[in-house]
Amino acid sequence: MYADLPSRFRALVPACDFASLRWVRERSQTLTVRRDVLLPPRDSVDVGVMVTVHAGGGVGYAATADLSDAGLRAALHTAHAWAESMGSRFIFDSRGLNPARPDGTWESPVQRPWHELALADRIGLLRDLSSRLHPAAPAGLSFVDWSATLMQVDTEVAYITPESTAYQHFSMISPDATTVVSNGTESQARSFGRGPSRQGGVEVLDEIGFSNAAEWLVADAVALIEAPDCPSARCDLILAPDQMMLQIHESIGHPLELDRILGDERNYAGTSFVTRGMFGNYRYGSELLNITFDPGVPGEFASYRWDDQGTTAEKAWLIRDGVLQAPLGGALSQARSGLPGVANTRASSWNRPPIDRMANLNLEPGSVSLTQMIGAVERGVFMRTNRSWSIDDRRDKFQFGCEWGQLIENGQLTSVVKNPNYRGRSPDFWRSLAGVGDRSTWEVHGTPYCGKGEPNQLIRVGHASPACRFVDVDVFGGG
């Protein structure tokens, strides 16, 4: 199906300024055991192409699953017609662009392919985990809901131009497990989270300790239901890497997306408190803050060689020593804004046009251990695992909640607290960064569910971070 596509496409391209074809074949399997019952296994095979044509100053696209010559010809005709008819109304002139024409191949590092784990073994792993997520509960408590899930995705993408072909093959695993304990009037959930989503094969499950998660999930859930609410205070806050993922994503990643700054997202995902004049001089955070766009971290969820407009991806510093350096903007946004950027023009699949997205957006490690970090806190809260997130359309005023909270008193972790939340404003928060964990605290996380764009697109992103300490944060509990 794919092998002859470049030649067939090239034979059909009409007279135009530029044309490309992005072929995507995605195969996935989702297995879930909930309350010890296997939900119907669901496999998916999705194949299609996005054809893009530059003509008359505009750009048109057409997405189709009909890969016959007739189907490709019709898609090219449609895309060409959209470009011509809309060209005079476009917000930019496509004739001034110089699209990339990449050649080569790239694939995720996989030690043990998914198919080497038989279906019965995958189900057995989940059933075993599920059975251990609801042991006999302490008096007055009961485990009311629990589940274990494995999602495996295998995606091939070929970006084809009249002169070149770049082929990439991604193998990804996204596991999760949750248990919920109730005392009859309230419940507390503890989850593995989608944070350990990675590129790779079956070996990822061992690396992240998935099959051994049941016992600590159960213990944490019971501790939470019996714990008092997180107190309300302004105090130090230490965030574990699985919450730093969310903090980086919402209050650094999204505000740095160049298409938001250019206004494209104002009707849906929103704009940004960051403006074009801030790059190169704006103090985004304390001097400890170093943020990189890094598509080359082995196994991180959004690693790749080329973005979906063919630009070669390379590591770049977006914030260095706390000062804003560059936005998350792909080639088109760079041309529109006159700003530098990165290779982050991405699409969720063949049926959506690419836009500026996060990929691997990481916080570089610092120099203190977690013990040292906690030891520096006289009064504070340690939080891990996101459960609630909300931020304004400029990515400024946020409120995030976690599953797990633990007080820090006189340099020691002490009581567990439930319903821990914190709120703040993005620049103030990052400027209060007072401690960045060393490599021993650094973890690679990712999520399959970053939403943005019109039409809407869910895309996979990666965030690696150490644990971090912030001072004078507004924390509070539930009720």
Binding site: S68, T185, S187, D264, T275, N419, G478, G479
Partner: protein, 445 residues
């Protein structure tokens, strides 16, 4: 061959492949959509998406497995794809345990077809840009046919097809990074040019108010009028987080558990339905169950029916009522109240008028505490008159307060809002809600 005929042909072929003891269900979702995205009154992206996804569910000896495949639209190719899918599902079944929650709805026949009654995407965009000349317009137009089908080897034969448009846009004032905008939406199956012109007139009036210096209102408790879009957002949150799900209620994970346990109530003014006549969602689900015409979820502030999927029906021993597996209502309808449009500002008197809410989530599931941001044209009102726009504020309050103790009244005219959701495919869901007058709302940031 039209879409329904092609589906029936594929189904007949697939059913002919079945071996003794096998059952097969087919669930089809397709669209031919035009999308035009615009910014600053100019086109940002324009194109078309043709996609059809078929879900095959093979059943034998109470074991089931499902596969989703994309269809190309070429009947010969699609026949091969369906045959391959059935062949690949067949050897999976013996490796699976029996599914104690397997159940299909009673077989029936239903066809709903509503032809297009709106202009092309290009024509609608032209009308918008001409009527809104000089405005900083940003948003998206989505148009075109959508179809959903379900049939099975045991006799289900359902089809739903319509063509709708959804024009969702803002007009902004202020420069880069400004959040001051008027949000508008026109959606449905019948295009009304006068409705667009009326929206544009409204936008220009509101922009004049937004041009006044914005006020930063300090955190505190404020009397608030929520416009219908804001109320719809709150209802979608409670619905989307399984507030009316029997599964979430029985497993004590519902954000409205205290309501369902009889510990809390909403205001007697709150009556809520899943209303199949609202919106454009099909009346059937993937398992072949039909939704009732109307399902009462909240009766004058107290819990009524819960949404019960076929799996929950087996799990908890209750009767299924056509809910999909996510147990979320696709077409919510909140009854109106006594606040006439002309009286909104007078009834509010002094407080905050919130046109839209954004990024709602739970602060505390157990107490149904909700947080989220005001967005777009939200104003400070004094003595029944709009004074100025406000900087975005964060609310953090319990749904039992917002729709309960502090709810003074609802608007008299619920407005239909079709979902603008286009993740994976265009949504066919919607909510019909009035505005709401709340005596005290807690704002925290």
């Amino acid at each position: 061959m039209d879409h329904q005929a092609a589906f029936r042909t594929l189904a007949a072929d697939a059913f002919a492949m079945l071996q003794s003891g096998e059952q097969l269900t087919l669930y089809l979702r397709g669209e031919e959509s035009s999308f035009i995205r615009f910014n600053q009154g100019k086109v940002r992206q324009a194109g078309e998406v043709r996609q059809t996804v078929l879900t095959l569910r093979l059943i034998r000896d109470r074991r089931q497995a499902a596969m989703e495949i994309g269809l190309s639209g070429d009947l010969a190719n699609d026949r091969d794809a369906v045959a391959q899918a059935v062949a690949s599902l067949r050897p999976v079944l013996p490796a699976l345990p029996e599914d104690p929650q397997l159940e299909l709805g009673p077989a029936a026949v239903l066809t709903e077809r509503r032809p297009a009654r709106h202009p092309s995407a290009e024509a609608i965009l032209t009308e918008l840009l001409e009527a809104g000349a000089g405005l900083d317009l940003v948003g998206i137009l989505a148009t075109g046919p959508m179809w959903t089908g379900m049939c099975s080897s045991v006799g289900h034969d359902y089809w739903s097809e319509n063509s709708a448009f959804n024009l969702d846009w803002c007009a902004y004032c202020g420069g880069e990074g400004s959040s001051l905008a008027v949000k508008c939406n026109l959606a449905g199956e019948v295009w009304d040019p006068e409705a667009l012109r009326e929206k544009i007139r409204f936008v220009r009036t509101q922009l004049a108010l937004l041009a006044r210096p914005a006020r930063v209102v300090p955190p505190g408790s404020y009397r608030t009028w929520f416009e219908p879009a804001a109320v719809g957002e709150l209802l979608w949150l409670l619905n989307g987080l399984e507030g009316f799900s029997v599964r979430a209620t029985r497993t004590a994970t519902s954000p409205l558990l205290q309501l369902h346990q009889g510990c809390r109530t909403f205001s007697p003014k709150v009556s809520l339905w899943d209303d199949a006549s609202a919106g454009v969602a099909p009346r059937f689900d993937e398992e072949g169950f039909l939704r009732p015409d109307s399902l009462l979820l909240l009766d004058q502030g107290r819990p009524a029916e819960l949404l019960v999927s076929s799996r929950s029906a087996r799990e908890f021993g209750v009767a299924a009522n056509g809910a999909a597996v996510d147990e979320c209502a696709p077409s919510l309808l909140l009854a109106g109240g006594g606040v006439a449009s002309k009286d909104i500002l007078l009834r509010l008197n002094t407080g905050i008028l919130v046109s839209n809410l954004w990024y709602l989530n739970l602060s505390d599931r157990n107490s149904a505490r909700v947080t989220g941001m005001t967005r777009f044209a939200s104003f400070w009102v004094e003595n029944g008159e709009i004074v100025c726009p406000i900087a975005a504020m964060r609310l953090d309050d319990s749904a039992y307060n917002l729709l309960g103790d502090a709810l003074e009244d609802l608007g008299e005219g619920p407005e239909v809002q079709l979902s603008t959701d286009t993740y994976f495919r265009r949504s066919n869901q919607g909510v019909t809600a009035p505005g709401a007058l709340v005596s005290a709302v807690t704002y925290t940031l």
